[in-house]
């Protein structure tokens, strides 16, 4: 629930989503749902020369189950706040 809320806060920011098939996609975060499925706008595959599969795709839906990493905007995360929140959640509060 915590990361769902967190991702909702950074809607509109630019992120890079790295998938479990090694594909990395840069785009603007448009939405996220309870499975952490992600919708991106204005997408570009990071290594487009090697993987031209999405040359004509600008908006996409990424299934949460295949996401390996989400690279966040450096100023898009308050580490202290998230740190406290994760500890609170781990304690069950």
């Amino acid at each position: 629930m915590l990361f769902f809320s967190y991702f909702k806060e950074i809607v509109g920011r630019e992120v890079v989503v790295e998938l479990k098939n090694d594909l990395a996609i840069r785009g603007t975060l448009r939405s996220v749902d309870q499975y952490l499925n992600i919708k991106l706008e204005n997408t570009r595959v990071v290594d487009q020369e090697k993987y031209p599969h999405m040359l004509s795709v600008r908006n996409c839906f990424i299934r949460g189950s295949v996401v390996r990493y989400v690279q966040l905007p450096p100023d898009g995360v308050d580490v202290e706040l998230l740190h406290d929140a994760t500890r609170r959640e781990a304690r069950g509060g």
Partner: protein
Amino acid sequence: MATGPGLEPLVDQMISVITNDGRNIVGILKGFDQATNIILDESHERVFSTKEGVQQIVLGLYIIRGDNISIIGELDEDLDAHIELSQLRGHPLKPVIH
């Protein structure tokens, strides 16, 4: 609270699906459910290789199980029309490893 993947705006549009085994299937989205199972009409597979241009294989009406889907992309038909598939080379996508 359980809402679906929100693919309503893509229904009856051309979409490009990347599956967990690295295939790229293009077709018209006809339906979907909360598990991202989808129905694709007039679908075909685009096979990328580094040796030759993109091969297209006609598949027809397909149902793809959500478990096996990585990406659903909205295919911009204008952009797509400007791509010379027979000249396009690319590495095959790797399969998803969980």
